[in-house]
């Protein structure tokens, strides 16, 4: 074997600054909206102001009269030109319902904000102004807004051809849960309400569809996480050949699942360029971005324990209000919430029922955590509730019930196979990082002064790299490594970056495999005309499968380079070493040849020294994580995940009992994502997830009125945390390498929203314990916390 760089020189494991960060930092990144073309036109979409209404007529004449307007179409017009949008994840595959998903409302609007008409004009203002001249005659209907009411007998079906509003019901059952509850020493019931909060990328969605006159094809510049799969959806929806569509996903300013496809605007804007044959751009505004929902669930978690505090049974019948039908994969979040029960706990008797309920609210899309954050919230609030009721420490109760590290690989009661972990170790490391015992002392001292400090912790198990058979949610991905005649490298990969800088991690991996300087490597992503066929970004997969496949391809190319180097130096391959870009051999004294010279020879001396290889210096490889199993077990269950990241989040906060306001005092996380390729990148993800989870638990809430009309329309009401709200996050890594994946990788990008949200709620309940106040309904706005304290005070008064 040749020696690569010495371990001390390797990039993997080092905090390398992100290569992609320079351009955004100096304002030179090219986001999708930065692309404009000759003859550029702009779209404005008119949306339904009603949650449920019959559309009697759409009169476009007012819009068409405005100078500068090129086209105005209503839902029925668009319907004539297109098929229904192909589901990202068809619920029918899992035994659920499906329906035709029109791009715009035709005859009937099924949620507030559903597209009803579109105007194309010379500029955005004209398009918007013209849209205000469109007359739509609606007959409003009583909307179905609440999930419980939606499944009650006699509820109107949101989709007329369905006999009820349950999109999909899935039971997750194992063991004998009834017996566990019958024999339980103690049963703890926790009603958990998770509100509708989404992910709000700084860059909203944008699509710029360009008609290519020479090839009669469409190029879509779009904010999309999955360019290749979207191309297939567009081809099917627009009745075109897939090879007549090119997608370029440029720099993305945050995605978090929200830019996974299925959105009606994707085929809609492409249709416009197909009809007008000029470039058409649409930029989502914040109000539109806030339409995209997620996470709204209500749980009734029942835990059965024996007298020693061992959990013997888990029951959770939960509802997810997933909104109106959509081609986006949001509904799958509810499925995953059930599938990842009972998280890190070794209880085997489970009785979990998931009902994903269709309503007249706007639909969900994927959001960071993809349902696993809700599992963590439900379970971890319930665990703290149980610990309180037992009068034991929440740490001890968790340690007693965690799967232990000797039990891996661990078959979960829902059929998953957890690869590795040390859950107790992660918890203890997180507590050590925050200085748990010190805070306990401070808490006591503060209480003596009448101040309420709380310490809360929560575990989150985040299976990563998921794949679902029969869908374009694949478990594998591919990369090409191309080394040029000057020795510089281009990596093309099927995964994309939502702004996480996974390209830097891939460059680190490739640099180590090739034994060269990272500056010689460029990573290209997101263009369907140049990248290998790939599935893009979701499920914390990008470094696992993008990095894994790039490593395999780099190894293949390195073998070719080694062969030519050995031929040039007239030595055996296993005597070669490469250091600082120069090959030498233990068998040939001072003779050297540079990496670049070897590459040049590989291209130019195909008939003499480079006879030993097939030029060019290129390889394309696929990494298929071996931990995935799509072959059903005896109960028909599959393991769709190759890796099981996990983490513990700890929050210390102070509750101002007079106002209900929560101040964050200290934060810490301990994270197991397997081998850490680049600590800066992983810690950036953890801090970001922390901010999202805390924001969700504290202030972020998309509200609707009783008629299903959106109330939360801007950042004035949807308030995300700012720097000033958040203390620095104490970070610890606690790696248990994945035994199956390249370098032991697990995903790192998705985890943290649920764990941090649950830790915050647990911290607040811990702070309020002396007042006997417990809150399990999110978000914990000051008014909600204050009301709970007032109610406790009042009932105390009654006593």
């Amino acid at each position: 074997m040749t020696k690569g760089k010495k371990p001390s020189e390797s990039y993997v494991g080092k905090s390398v600054r992100a290569k992609e960060a320079r351009a955004p930092l100096i304002g030179k990144a090219k986001y999708t909206n930065d692309y404009s073309f000759e003859g550029q036109l702009y779209a404005y979409i008119l949306r339904s102001p009603h949650a449920a209404a019959k559309i009697n007529s759409v009169d476009l004449s007012g819009a068409k009269k405005i100078s500068g307007v090129h086209l105005a179409l209503c839902g029925r017009d668009v319907f004539e030109h297109t098929n229904g949008i192909t589901d990202h994840l068809n619920p029918a595959i899992f035994g659920g319902k499906s329906t035709r998903l029109p791009i715009m409302a035709v005859d009937e609007a099924w949620c507030y904000g559903q597209p009803v008409a579109i105007v194309i004009a010379e500029d955005e203002r004209t398009a918007r102004y013209a849209a205000s001249r469109i007359q739509v005659d609606y007959t409003p209907k009583e909307p179905v807004v609440d999930a419980e009411k939606a499944i009650a007998k006699g509820a109107r079906s949101v989709v007329p051809e369905w006999d009820d509003n349950v999109l999909i019901y899935v039971p997750f059952m194992n063991g004998d849960t009834q017996a566990a509850f019958d024999q339980a020493d103690k049963i703890v019931t926790t009603d958990v309400k998770i509100h509708r909060f989404s992910s709000q990328p700084m860059e909203t969605r944008c699509y710029n569809a360009v008609w290519e006159h020479d090839t009669e094809s469409i190029t879509l510049y779009g904010t999309c996480q999955n360019p290749h799969p979207l191309r297939l959806v567009l081809a099917e929806t627009l009745r075109m050949n897939e090879n007549k569509i090119r997608i370029i996903a440029s720099t993305i300013g945050g995605a978090f699942g929200l830019k996974m496809h299925g959105h009606p605007e994707e085929p809609l804007i492409c249709l416009m360029t197909k009809l007008i044959r000029r470039p058409v751009k649409w930029v989502e505004n914040r109000e539109e971005c806030l339409l995209i929902g997620a996470r709204e669930q209500q749980h009734k978690v029942e835990m059965a324990f024996d007298s020693d505090g061992n959990m013997t049974g888990l029951r959770d019948h939960f509802l997810a209000n997933i909104g109106a039908p959509s081609a986006c994969p949001g509904w799958g979040m509810a499925f995953l919430t059930g599938l990842t029960m009972p998280g890190p706990y070794k209880v085997e008797n489970i009785d979990v029922h998931m009902n994903a309920v269709t309503t007249n609210k706007p639909s969900w899309n994927a959001a960071r955590g993809y349902g696993k954050e809700s599992t963590a919230i439900a379970l971890e609030l319930a665990m703290d509730n149980a610990a309180r009721q037992f009068g034991i420490s929440p740490i001890d109760l968790r340690l007693k019930n965690f799967i232990t590290k000797e039990q891996f690989p661990y078959p979960s009661p829902t059929g998953l196979v957890y690869d590795s972990g040390d859950y107790g170790g992660v918890l203890l490391k997180a507590l050590e990082t925050i200085g748990y015992e010190d805070w306990k002392d401070k808490q006591k001292a503060a209480l003596a002064e009448g101040r309420h400090i709380g310490i809360g912790m929560a575990f989150e198990l985040t299976p990563e790299g998921g794949t679902i058979p029969g869908t374009m949610v694949a478990g594998y991905d591919s990369s090409s490594v191309r080394v040029g005649p000057d020795g510089t490298v281009r990596v093309l990969t099927g995964i994309t970056s939502p702004g996480t800088h996974n390209g830097t991690a891939i460059a680190q991996i490739v640099a180590d495999e090739l034994g060269i300087d990272m500056d010689r490597i460029e990573v290209l992503q997101g263009d369907t005309n140049s990248s290998p066929y790939g599935f893009g970004n979701y499920s914390g997969r990008s470094t696992i499968v993008g990095g894994g496949s790039a490593a395999l391809a780099a190894k293949d190319v390195r073998d070719k380079i080694n062969a030519v180097a050995a031929a040039l130096l007239e030595v055996e391959i296993d005597t070669l070493s490469l250091s600082e870009g120069v090959f030498s051999s233990s068998d040939n004294g001072d003779a050297t040849v540079t990496f670049a010279e070897v590459c040049y020879a590989s291209y130019t001396r195909a008939y003499d020294v480079a006879m030993c290889i097939d030029p060019p210096l290129e390889a394309t490889r696929t990494f298929k994580p071996p931990g995935i199993s799509h072959l059903p077990d005896e109960n028909g269950r599959i393991n769709p995940y190759p890796s099981y990241s996990n983490a513990v989040y700890v929050v210390v906060c102070e509750v101002d009992t007079e106002t209900g306001k929560i101040d964050l005092l200290s934060l810490a996380a301990a994270h197991d994502c397997g081998k850490v390729i680049n600590p800066i990148l992983v810690e950036g993800q953890v801090c970001g997830a922390f901010a999202m989870g805390l924001g969700g638990a504290l202030t972020e809430d998309v509200q609707y009125d009783a008629n299903g009309v959106q109330l939360t329309k801007s950042f004035k009401d949807y308030v995300m945390l700012r720097m000033a709200d958040m203390p620095l996050v104490g970070m610890a890594h606690h790696d248990s390498p994945n035994p199956d994946n390249y370098l032991g990788l697990k995903g790192a990008g998705e985890a943290g929203v649920g764990g941090s949200a649950a830790a915050l709620v647990n911290a607040v309940n811990n702070a309020l314990e002396p007042l006997e106040v417990v809150i399990h309904e999110m978000p914990l706005t000051p008014s909600r916390v204050w009301s709970a304290i007032q109610n406790a005070n009042n009932s105390e008064g009654v006593k």
Binding site: E287, T699, F715, V719, L721, M723, P782, S783
Partner: protein
């Protein structure tokens, strides 16, 4: 509503006033743009004419006489926070201006005039100015007119509009013995206030000689509480008096706002808490300075 708006930048107050008198309802006055531009960018407003008063020198600057500080409405928040005449003579106003949200860019562009004429209940400047019994000077077709800010607030329901131009904000300098406090309760750093209270107190020895509280963000208009607090005059402050002030101020909130930051019941209660905390801040200054002495 117009797709093709006109833009005018009058050079002096007379031109501006004449222009505004000649225009119909589709005109807007614009200076720092922090109030209006978000509406325009969002398509909520499509004005026919923008009257940019940013070029009128008479609307700029701060000047301090012995008995009056005159503030030009084009003075940006950052200057309100830092200009010596204001920091020294109107420290309550300087402090309140520091609590304005939006960050440095907003502080550098947003003007005190814009903040006042918007008459937005959540803004920070009005409670401070009302606690200080500020007056304003307005210019309309009918000429120049001076009135208290309190009167102006009573007269207008949706901001000042284009019927007149705010030309001056006039405030009596705070005496060195005036105690003041400002408390802004907000859910998180990026949120608007849910209760903003400004307090001005004069003491006679230990006893409260006068107290005036102005509470914003709790109702549609800033509520001034002074007469209702008369029963606490003549005695010293105590925690019981603090709780009584809290209750009086909370009771002064008639129809509380209710929005995503918090419901009306909480808002009404918080108005009292903010008032008491602002009072404690004011009296804390006394303790700090006496302990120094």
């Amino acid at each position: 509503m117009s797709l093709h708006p006109m833009y005018a930048r009058p050079r002096n107050l007379e031109q501006a006033s004449e222009l505004l008198a000649s225009l119909s309802s589709g005109a807007v006055i614009i200076a720092g743009g922090q109030e209006i531009m978000p509406y325009i960018n969002y398509g909520v407003m499509m004005p026919d004419v923008y009257v940019d008063i940013g070029g009128i020198d008479a609307l700029r600057g701060v000047s301090a006489e012995t008995d009056e500080v005159s503030i030009g409405p084009l003075t940006v928040h950052r200057d309100i926070q830092n200009v010596e005449e204001i920091v020294e003579r109107l420290p309550l106003l300087a402090y309140a201006a520091k609590q304005i949200g939006g960050g440095m860019q907003v502080h550098n562009r947003g003007t005190i005039g814009g903040n006042i004429v918007a008459m937005h209940p959540l803004y920070d400047v009005a409670p401070a100015l009302l606690a200080l019994e500020a007056e304003v000077e307005l210019l309309s077709e009918k000429g120049s007119q001076r009135m208290s800010l309190s009167e102006l607030q009573d007269l207008s329901n949706h901001g000042l509009g284009t019927s007149s131009i705010l030309t001056k904000i006039l405030v009596k300098p705070m005496s060195p013995t005036t105690l003041w406090g400002y408390y802004k309760l907000k859910n998180s750093a990026g949120a608007y206030g849910s209760a903003n209270a400004a307090v001005v107190i004069q003491l006679d020895g230990e006893n409260i000689k006068s107290i005036r509280v102005a509470i914003g963000a709790a109702t549609e208009k800033v509520v001034v509480v002074s007469g209702n607090l008369d029963s606490y005059l003549g005695g010293p402050y105590s925690s019981e008096v603090g709780l009584a002030i809290q209750k009086t101020c909370s009771d002064a909130i008639g129809e509380p706002l209710s929005d995503q930051q918090g419901d009306g019941v909480w808002r009404k209660a918080m108005a009292g808490v903010a008032a008491r905390r602002a009072t404690e801040m004011a009296l804390g200054k006394l303790n700090n300075s006496s302990s120094k002495g």
